[in-house]
Amino acid sequence: MTTPNPIVPTSPASPADPANPIAGTAQIFDQGYRRYEGERTGVAGAMSSLVRATWRQALGLKRQTRNKLIPFMIIVFAFVPAVVFVGLAALLPDDFVNELPTYVEYYGFVVAAIYLFAAFVSSAILCEDRRTGMLGVYLSSPLDRRTYLAGKAIAFCTLLFIVTILPILLMLLAYSLQNAGPDGFGNWIETFAKIVLSGVAFGLVFAFPSLAVASTTDRWVVATATNAAMFPASAVVTDLLVGEGNLTPHLRLLNIPGLARELTFRIFNEPQASLWSRFDNPTWTLVLAALGWILVSGGIVWANYRRLLVRR
């Protein structure tokens, strides 16, 4: 389609024309905008374009440097401990390597970075589209509200997995190279799977509530601030209620960071490290609570978007 398109002259001069010896040695090409007759990719193509555009929007890619600043700073925060531990593992004698944090303990170092990332990215990808009228552009493309939200959610979750899975995989890789990783291939694969699974669980528990908050407003500053305050607040308040107020420990299921961490502990089957967020609930209630968070938050998002009058 992009090859030059020669214009056939209406009455072409014959190359053999003796009176015009240079005829036929030149051509003028049709350039620039033209019709498109090729295949169209349909809704699937639109979704994939939406997901890629959302990644760029969240990370400030293909934009000026100041738009990249916040997301990349947070990502760096999430990776710094991993890099430090990898460095320590390389430098320290083998005996000490066992003293380094385990994979699941890593979340304790980066939970703040993760919820800041969730808070920032969720508002960046939802609020901006409403404020700039981009949502109207999407809804006049093959996408509709459902596919739009699905694309946004996919893009958001995959982004979150960058900070919930990758640093820990980095640790796994580095520890393995230091011979401090899991013994045997089977164990290695199992650990790998656990890391991915816990990263997914950890990410999803943060992802949906922050999307729900972002769906209520079109000002990203407000959404980011509310989200950033909501996660620690849910931890502090439930801890106070259960710890100080001796209320039912099931209230801890409302503690988003706590729930997320506890899920990872259960996946790795390790004793919990935290002293004050002690979960005694059986695992199935934790899973149920996580699903509840996801469903309720997803419902809030859908309710907000279903009613939304789109400015077109």
């Binding site: 407000v222 305050a229 607040a233 100080e244």
Partner: protein, 239 residues
């Protein structure tokens, strides 16, 4: 209706968006819940210290400045953002009225959201001590009024007032002011904390001023902030 009242009315209605009301309501409910928790944790001990510390730390330290910031900074901030300030600004009514209306509206919207839940929460957390209730109510009213005046000015001065305000709160009011005495004199939180400490007769860090000082200084701060806001209104370029 006088111009001042009309301004007050439109500005308060502008502040009462669904999102803000939800936020305020949630914070109120949370404070009372936490207060109950503290009360239960006391197990019947006289909880004067616990109640005052709760009001001081969570109330004056966090809830009051943040609610004041959210409301007061958007009082002009929203108008600048929506480019509607001109409809109030261009009218011949005096500019100080506009400043005072903005302050009064954000304070009166904030007070039910701060004073009521936090004083009640302090009352509960202290094991139902009326002195704590009174002290909290006065201290929080003063703090809300003073913070609101500052943030009304900030909302007119800068575009991203929420972020600048949070930075000011966390760096100055909640950190530096609790470290040194000199800095404490120059921060708002010292004065309502002093009211709370004096009336309830409890020791709190950097809260050794008299009740009178505790009331007067925030009032003077509010007056200065209003004067600055009026000056800024006179000189601002309005879209």
């Amino acid at each position: 209706m006088t111009p001042l009242l009309a301004l007050y009315r439109v500005l308060s209605r502008n502040l009462l968006s669904r999102g803000r009301l939800t936020l305020i309501g949630m914070l109120g409910v949370l404070s009372i819940l936490v207060a109950f928790a503290i009360n239960r944790g006391n197990d019947g001990d006289p909880g004067l210290d616990a109640g005052v510390t709760f009001v001081w730390f969570l109330g004056l330290g966090l809830v009051v400045p943040i609610i004041s910031l959210v409301l007061a900074s958007s009082s002009f901030g929203d108008l600048v953002e929506d480019e509607t300030l001109v409809y109030l600004w261009h009218r011949p009514s005096p500019r100080w009225m506009l400043a005072v209306a903005a302050w009064a509206s954000s304070t009166t919207v904030a007070i039910p959201a701060t004073v009521i839940p936090l004083s009640v929460a302090g009352y509960i957390a202290s094991g139902f001590d009326l002195k704590v209730f009174g002290a909290s109510a006065l201290a929080i009213t003063v703090a809300t009024a003073a913070y609101s005046s500052l943030f009304v000015f900030l909302g007119l001065l800068v575009r991203r007032a929420l972020i600048w305000g949070l930075m000011y709160l966390f760096i100055w009011e909640l950190f530096v002011a609790r470290v040194g005495n000199g800095a404490a004199t120059l921060s708002i939180i010292t004065y309502p904390s002093s009211i709370l400490a004096s009336i309830a007769d409890v020791e709190l860090a950097q809260a050794d001023r008299s009740v009178l000082t505790g009331i007067l200084v925030p009032l003077i701060v509010s007056a200065i902030a209003m004067a600055l806001t009026t000056w800024r209104l006179d000189n601002v370029d309005v879209a």
